[in-house]
Symmetry: C2
Subunit: 211 residues, 2 copies
Amino acid sequence: MDGDLIPLEKPRPERADAARNRRLLLDTARRMVAEDGAANVTMDGLAERAGVGKGTVYRRFRTRAGIFVALLDEGERDFQQRVLSGPPPLGPGGDPVDRLIAYGRGRVCFLLEHHAVARAALDRNQPVPAGGPGLTRPHIRYLLAQAGQGGRHLDALALQLTAALEGPVLLYLATPAEAPEAGEEPAWTRQLQALAEGWEVLVRRVCGSTP
Amino acid sequence: MDGDLIPLEKPRPERADAARNRRLLLDTARRMVAEDGAANVTMDGLAERAGVGKGTVYRRFRTRAGIFVALLDEGERDFQQRVLSGPPPLGPGGDPVDRLIAYGRGRVCFLLEHHAVARAALDRNQPVPAGGPGLTRPHIRYLLAQAGQGGRHLDALALQLTAALEGPVLLYLATPAEAPEAGEEPAWTRQLQALAEGWEVLVRRVCGSTP
DNA sequence: AGCATAAGCGGACTTTACCCCGCTTATATT
DNA sequence: AATATAAGCGGGGTAAAGTCCGCTTATGCT
């Protein structure tokens, strides 16, 4: 009797071939995105180009959106690391308001960098992919609480700030033309500045720190 | 020579048969949404049920999402009317901050009421449907300016507040189970309260009016 | 090592959004 | 009223997402 009481004991670690195929698919997908843009990545095309069956693709990433969620997730991992255990102001230890501001800038920057993929990760039939806000919203909520803000409206406020942070990129911004010629300043630098500064204003006012 | 200098002179008012078909399609679509839910409305099904060709549907509403945008638009018209020329606090004349708050509550209520349709109106390939934020964002921007807020960040702030208002419903909220048995309190009443109050807090703090 | 079994895999199949292009019909002009 | 012409219309065609199910293969047990 091994402990089934700890439910995460061993969910079957993932077969070696499966892992190999996941890597293969993810890499292939990334290449296809780079070459033709996220919009032109099809399930059939990906399967063919990776040299596996279509069924395999669907087993790994439930839906088309799933691929992009996974792609995004991978790219996000080190950012999350810096948030959870890096140096302030992004990492733990500093003033919560500063952390909020730093988090916002980082997140918007990330989303803009991966704009096409981030949008492709949205799914008409699902509320929202697990990858993105899965960490953003609780983190904002946590920092708000740390800053002593929100009170009875903590949850709603966290939700709305999350939307204020991610919504513009996910919902309202048109996908800017593709990759800038190597070495050029990316086209979205202005947008990043605007959104990051707007976010800072928003957060400061919400938290009542220096209007 | 009639004036082509005024570009909106007469964009060809729309042929009578076309208008008839639009009404027919819109009504049919509404019925189908009510019966089977927005997710189960297909282009072929709609065309068949309305007794017109598929091509006709596509001509009227460029895409599937277009149908729902139109549906939403129609329902929104009287709300817009009240915003533009109704009595305060929603209509013109009152304190801008109060107008912002009232607008937010009204908009969230509307979006929750038409949640399924609103989500269906999103299009993977388009930044955002023209109908919704088309009025929301400029209105918020205008009221912010009226309230003397925003300054250099007016545009970004308006964008982010728009997202804070609409994002939760469009992005993060799961579609609640279908229509409540006639006469019952709709399931989303709680969510409406939470979001409306959160919005009020947000707006008040952003505008520095009674923290 | 051999076996049982559950997970992985492939590709044919279905459904659906969207395109295309020739025919029909409303409206402007004479 | 007749005609020209641009808009409306229809339905067959394409491509891509997602499902199904039988075959294959890795892994745990003895």
